[in-house]
Amino acid sequence: MYTIGLRYCGGCNPQIDRTRVVKDLREGLAKLQTAVDITTDRSRAVDLLLLINGCEHACLEEDYSERDGPIISVEGLMVDRRPVEEDDIPDILIRKILDMMSSSSH
């Protein structure tokens, strides 16, 4: 199964509700019956890393800047450095995840 490693930043002063974004993302993927396993277990090998940063400073990006392999990063009101509305973030993530899944299966 396609595995997504989920990482949260420390959440000191977030611009977005990080847990709601992830909840809506999980529900959205479930509705599409997409077979993905989202895990916060840092010891597991994953196909994709999803960084949930509460603001544009994006502390997590520093931690994972050396990582090989695909990453999607939410940076407060940005996803992969594109400005977004908070409510649109789950859908944007679903689209990106589906793209990555299809390119990895080719």
Binding site: N13, P14, Q15, C55, E56, H57, A58, E61, E75, R81, R82
Partner: protein, 509 residues
């Protein structure tokens, strides 16, 4: 990279039209009224050559991989943002005044970020053009002035509604090979001693103001461009001698000028925005953010000088141990370091933009500058308090040189033994220069008046999120984490608590 001397010599090659005190100034470089400003800008070049400052004063270009002066660098990391404000403090300490070159630096970064975003939306090639321009700036080590503020006439009316069409710089004509522009930019720092002018719009523009949504760069001596140099407090003292100027080497504020553009041709390769009014907010706010963050560096460098000067004068007058003097100096230091903390914070909390360049934290940058608009006045007030009324009643240098009264005056201004009266006068003049004159309104209005910072702070405060926090703590919103701690829902929990309290109420009352 040029050194200080080479920078000054490089200005001789520019033949620009400059007016000051009713005269046309033919030789800008040797004009005594301009020289202090030129020396200050030269410091930004000189220190880049000194091994003890290179770590801060230089950077590696992301375009060429070559070492360049940091004033031409596009910030590509948090470390770059932090070093930028360290550079500002350092130069404030070395000159005690505005060293001018940061406006162009902020303009370069803001246009870099915004031109990328315009291209993403419209498929234009502004960013590519700007990178070519940036390469020239870096290779030639140019100092561009940053020309954002338009004359603006009636502030309540939009640019296109002004009585005088030139109140805002605008496109008059679009040609195959470029544009023709007219208008005026006011208060432009370092304008008469810059190699280039980098133009940006001054405010958010709407569709009807599309011709005012304009960014470009030109050589400073382009035909049709002229400059009217501004006055500063006590400026003609520079013509009276050395001492009375207060800071004769480096002057006061940055040496501002009105820049007039009369039917000036700008080739397309030097145009970075021409009508994309929907990106004016981004360009203005990005520039303002970078620029406001600087003030927590440069003005704190100036504070270091004025605090040192105040302490020295207190010693010379024999009051340095007095508790109220120690208290005032401590207040000055605490305020300066508060501003420094703000600017470090807005740099460390910076972020990467889609262009790859790094931007500061906008909310914190605006807080930095808002503090500066208040605290500079306060620490300068304390400097005046400590230095005494002599800062505005000292006799002139010419009287100090007059053998008939010289010794009497030295007796009058003598302090504690071991301090030369002439040095005391020198220091008092410096404190006068820094605390009485143009440096104060510069702290108020430079990089935008306080109201502009408040607007940005209000807009970026995340007030909705703060209300949610309050509602959760107050018990209006559900508090998931609290429920996890107590292991049940809140209503059940409080019902149980109330039940337990029932017996104890009678015990207390």
């Amino acid at each position: 990279m040029m050194n200080g001397k080479e920078y000054i010599e490089s200005l001789r090659g520019l033949n620009r039209e400059v007016y000051f005190l009713g005269r046309k100034i033919k030789n800008v470089v040797d004009e005594p009224m301009f020289q202090p400003h030129i020396h200050t800008a030269a410091m930004t070049y000189e220190l880049a050559h000194e091994p003890e400052y290179q770590e801060i004063m230089t950077a590696v270009s992301h375009v060429t991989g070559e070492r360049i002066n940091r004033f031409t660098h596009i910030h590509h990391s948090i470390d770059d943002l932090v070093k930028k404000v360290r550079m500002m403090r350092l130069l404030g300490q070395k000159t005690g005044t505005c060293f001018q070159r940061c406006v162009g630096l902020d303009g370069l970064n803001a246009v870099y970020v915004t031109s990328y975003d315009i291209d993403q939306k419209y498929g234009t090639d502004y960013h590519e053009r700007f990178r070519d321009y940036l390469l020239q700036v870096q290779e030639n080590d140019w100092m561009p002035s940053g020309a954002m503020t338009d004359a603006r006439g009636d502030r309540s009316r939009r640019p296109s509604m002004q009585q005088h069409p030139d109140a805002y710089l605008h496109i008059k004509e679009r040609l195959d090979d470029g544009i023709i522009v007219s208008g005026m930019k006011a208060h432009i720092t370092g304008a008469v001693n810059s190699h280039e002018i980098l133009v940006m719009p001054t405010r958010t523009m709407s569709e009807e103001d599309a011709d005012f949504a304009l960014s470009f760069a030109l050589p400073a001596d382009t035909e049709g461009v002229s400059y009217i140099f501004s006055r500063q407090t006590n400026d003609t003292r520079r013509l009276d001698g050395v001492l009375d100027g207060g800071n004769p080497k480096y002057g006061i504020v940055g040496g501002e000028a009105v820049i007039v553009f009369k039917d000036v041709f700008v080739p397309w390769e030097r145009v970075f925005m021409a009508g994309e009014y929907d990106f004016t907010t981004e360009l203005v706010e990005t520039f303002a953010g970078y620029h406001r963050s600087n003030y927590g560096g440069c003005k704190v460098g100036l504070a270091d000088v004025v605090i040192g000067g105040s302490n020295w004068i207190a010693e010379a007058h024999g009051v340095e141990r007095s508790s109220h003097i120690v208290d005032k100096l401590t207040d000055m230091i605490a305020m300066a370091e508060t501003c420094w903390s703000c600017t470090l914070a807005c740099s460390y909390e910076g972020h990467k933009t889609p262009s790859g360049a790094y931007n500061i934290h906008p909310l914190l940058a605006n807080v930095t500058k808002l503090n500066i608009t208040r605290m500079v006045y306060e620490w300068m007030r304390l400097a005046q308090d400590i230095a005494g009324g002599k800062i505005i009643t000292l006799p002139s240098e010419k009287d100090l040189e007059n053998p008939e009264i010289r010794e009497t005056l030295f007796e009058c201004f003598a302090g504690k033994q071991g301090f030369s009266p002439l040095d005391i006068i020198r220091m008092l003049r410096l404190i006068e220069n820094m605390s009485v004159g143009a440096g104060l309104p510069e702290a108020m209005h430079g990089a935008g008046s306080p109201a502009a910072q408040k607007i940005m702070i209000a807009r970026r405060s995340g007030i909705e999120k703060k209300m949610e926090l309050a509602k959760t703590v107050a018990g209006i919103n559900r508090d998931d984490y609290f429920e996890r701690i107590i292991g049940k829902d809140e209503t059940t929990h409080w019902n149980e608590v109330k039940k337990k309290l029932r017996g104890r109420e009678t015990e207390i009352y």
